[in-house]
Symmetry: D3
Subunit: 248 residues, 6 copies
């Protein structure tokens, strides 16, 4: 059930049977010469949508711009500052808590979002308590990174070994190929790629990783792999969402 | 050309021939008993995407949550506070200006966004000047509301007369029916509907407009109307975008 | 009744009979070679003061610096950033609501304030709800632009035609001449003046409108015209204030 | 020379001969049962205007709402939060510095403004340095409290002794009587008045000082005294402004 | 009783008998060629700790970075902006008030903190009232500057006369020598030293006071003097803390 | 070399040979019935100070209050909100970068700080780039959690097995016992302790972990263990700091 394709009365009914909501969050950032700028949002959205179907959970619109300041030396990247993103998440959650939601499950497609999301959750719990909302102390937020699902991680290792890298990875590229088969990009990638994982400023990032990849070989990606990753992630996150929903 | 389906190198090339970008912006808010919560984002996204095709412009990911605080007493609505939205728009534009974009054309689906967007543009121009970016003084932002296109307005008048109303209107509902024919909602609507246009607090709004509609009769909407609105808006905004792009 | 010339006990008594307050808001910005920098504040203050007398409403001190970032390349302009102005308006309203005011009628002298004011109203309604003030849901804000009064607009058209322009207009200059007859400025104005209405950054503004005027010929202004505009605006806004006060 | 009664070209000329500007700042707050709510702004504005004449300095529009949070339990008080006021002062100064002003002389009518003003100056110096404005390191701000002028203080002591008190004082009331002889308020004041000077929260303030006075007997005020205070303050502050202007 | 060496259960017990807490606040800023960068924090912490012992008050961890923007042209200085410091103080106090503290006694080692601290107190009182905490109106904050204790001031005058100066003073240096006898620094100081007390921007400060001292001769300091200052400050501030604690 | 016990001239000299600085960061939060409220700051400070000696690095004053909002239902806890902490870290780093520091090594004693610290680093890199500081792109920040050192972790496992838990752990308590042997607290601890690791709001935290411990048995701690942990952490972090300092 997608929030944006529902009416407010359907949401009202939904709240009679569940207090949970899934929030996909991605990023709009360079993903190497052949990766889509929307990779992280595409993956999060596709998986979240399927998890929503499996678990009969409502799915919020995708937060498609996240914390990607380190990628901003590449054209096309858009990023929130962490302080803006904290306010955004606080605004989202405050609206949703006021009308009855309590369990927020963020399906995340971008490692760079994790720290700021967690900071935002802390800020929000305190804010909700200050507002003296009756359900403030029941509010629980969790971030689930699809790319860190046990089986996803294992499959990536099997398929790509160390060529998985840590940005513009074949696994995420594969998933976007599965979702958008018409947007598969061709391109020669230099065989040499910096295997570091250091992330500092945007300028430093581009100096260090000139074509945007961090140790990855996205040429290994195929749409068939993408389907595999998708299925594994949907399965694992569906289970974990239900656990979260039913836990105290 | 959709930003999220492009690579950074494609964006780099694009910037050789154009400095313009289209940014769809909607809202996630109640649209009466039969309107989709995502109505404003859906309309903006669909139209912007087509305008992008017609004009060969790049289209940014849709800002799908906007300024809808007055709708927050209805479940499912999500809103940014204006102060958050100003920071968000500033962050977006700053990233894009730094890598070469200058002309920002916001295709907007929600009247409630206009004031905050304009405030954000002012804040951003000053911020960019403070950053001493070389292209700061060339930056131009414009907001184009599809529902205020001359021909759209005229057609809505013809088809619905005063039953167009001002929120959860048949014209916007029709457009979503055209875009998402599988999500057409049925529902009995009370014939009586408040024809006021007053907007104050969220509580007041729900008291004043108990089912969320402002003077509208969305039962008049059909997908065929939706296609007409869509075509008219795409045509007019494509022309206006090109004018904007080519103006000083 | 002017707030600044009242005692707190007089305000307490006033609140027994009315919950309304008039807030004049202007700007401190260049108004062309012959217009006063305080034009917008002067007009708003003079009219608000008279409306207060006619309607027996209390009038707050004038907000004499508003949102004029686009004029800041001209010496003497002072502007708040929109984000500051939102906080300012929120602070004003919060103080006044806490002691009993509910109906806020902003008499505005500057087009550039409108967007930020409206954003501030939205931000404030939500803030007051969060504070759980008992009268939060009765709070209503309205912005009334004297220069958009139907009769004012009509008279300006009659007297000046297209030479009214859109900044440093003869109508507003006339009004200041009526209020401050000792501060009528002389000056040769170039006959050619840019008739555009585009507003982007401060640097762009000064490039586009080198002497500060936007399509106007303020030399047409006379104090007698000023009195006419003043009378028309006071009459119309007095009626509209009373309507607002008595409306739900 | 009043900024709001000048044109931008007059300001441009002024900047050829002086980089100084006087900024009157007051407050909009209760001043006991017989004192005007605008007392602090009225005093600051009247004195600043005269100092401007004596010294041929330009005088900015009065900041008529300041930091008066402790008075907000009395109806009619309007206050900025310190964090808002810091942003406001920063915005003012940034605009003025960008077009050439360097020496800012705040003539202040309210003790409660001093701390926040000083904090704002520090914040602004750092901000201007960050903007890399060429004249940033020449910017100097000073706050001059008219009520702390040596001769003013001495006269208040002579005329009123300990009945001067520390809020809603006869000296400031006298000055407003001189400026607004038509707004002299009558009222019985209890002879007993709390002589403390403690200031904590707004609620505590009203409990502690039930009619708003802090140890003062404003019934001693006369318009003639007001003129004396005015003359003394104008003289002393004119000298001090010139010293400041000419100092390194 | 030091907060950081206590358990939460000890704090809970403490709150049964007292609602007061001492908060030492200093700065991390240049103190001339021979003064320690931590001087202000060291003095505040040492004195606060002793006052805590004498009065059986709990002592919070030292705020060791304060408002020292004017010293930031010297390496090693760290400063908060005033707006950050206001948020910090608000956060500290809000946490402590929520669990029962009401009387906050800031023992301060740095003149530059005073204005921002006072602004922060005002901001916090209003914030606590907005949170509707039951004890909000009992919250009282006071700042006590050890260097302004009557007997400290008198002794400094006796020992150093005008060579006390106003920054990097022999009295504060002496106190740090007493607390950290192993960190007494040697150095030739120019006999000439600027006796002004003007403080503007950081760049201006370093130009004006090239070695960081303001009119002082810290070579006069001895650890024995330090002990005297310490004893006098502890005695006076212990008495004043108890007065504060027991006052309404 | 401790920054607070140095002079600015010593810092200037230090910067000739190194651009690195160690910043200890802890927290002021409940650590169960027998753990010190200052545990995290004490551990970070002690280890950082020793690492500074081993590596001849300068050590900043300890940030002794961090992000501990989830502990604020226990008396004595003080926390910054994440948004405040981001501003604080940004202010610290901006000051230090302006005078030449580039490599920031945060030795952290509190898991709850990690997310906000990382968010703050991202925010700061972008801010420094906006300031156009010449060394902005060389700035690198790293957070090193002493309790996650490989050998520390291993030893804790060996000594305490699952009784290490995740808050108020015997390892951190042991370290404080080593540093402050006079502040070892006695207390009966219930044998039953919640082994979860869930962290949501402050109220929820106290409900879930009534005495403040998360799965730990701090009664196993001894000062001797503390010394072992200390030695292991100092050794590992010294090596890692030097690596960081010498890395690109």
């Amino acid at each position: 059930m997608l929030l944006h394709l529902s009416t407010w009365q359907e949401v009202e009914e939904y709240l009679q049977r569940s207090r949970g909501i899934i929030v996909p969050i991605g990023s709009t950032e360079q993903h190497g010469p052949t990766g889509l700028i929307g990779t992280d949002a595409i993956c999060a959205e596709a998986i979240a949508s399927a998890v929503g179907k499996v678990t009969q959970a409502i799915v919020a619109p995708t937060i498609n711009v996240g914390m990607a300041l380190h990628h901003t030396a590449f054209p096309g990247t858009i990023s929130l500052r962490p302080s803006t993103m904290i306010q955004l998440v606080k605004d989202y959650l405050t609206c949703l808590v006021k009308t009855g939601f309590c369990k927020f499950y963020f399906i995340n497609g971008h490692g760079g979002n994790i720290a700021t999301l967690k900071a935002a959750f802390s800020e929000t719990y305190a804010h909700l308590a200050d507002l003296q909302l009756s359900n403030a102390s029941q509010v629980q937020c969790q971030v689930a990174n699809w790319f860190m699902c046990a089986d996803v991680y294992k499959l990536a290792k099997e398929l790509y070994g160390s060529e998985e890298g840590s940005h513009a990875t074949p696994s995420e590229v594969a998933l976007t190929q599965y979702v958008y088969p018409d947007s598969i990009k061709q391109g020669n990638l230099s065989a040499e790629v910096n295997k570091e994982r250091k992330i500092y400023s945007a300028t430093d990032f581009r100096d260090r990783y000139p074509d945007g990849r961090m140790g990855s070989n996205p040429n290994l990606a195929t749409p068939e792999h993408g389907k595999q990753f998708y299925d594994l992630a949907v399965k694992e996150l569906s289970n974990r969402y239900l656990e979260f929903l039913n836990s105290q």
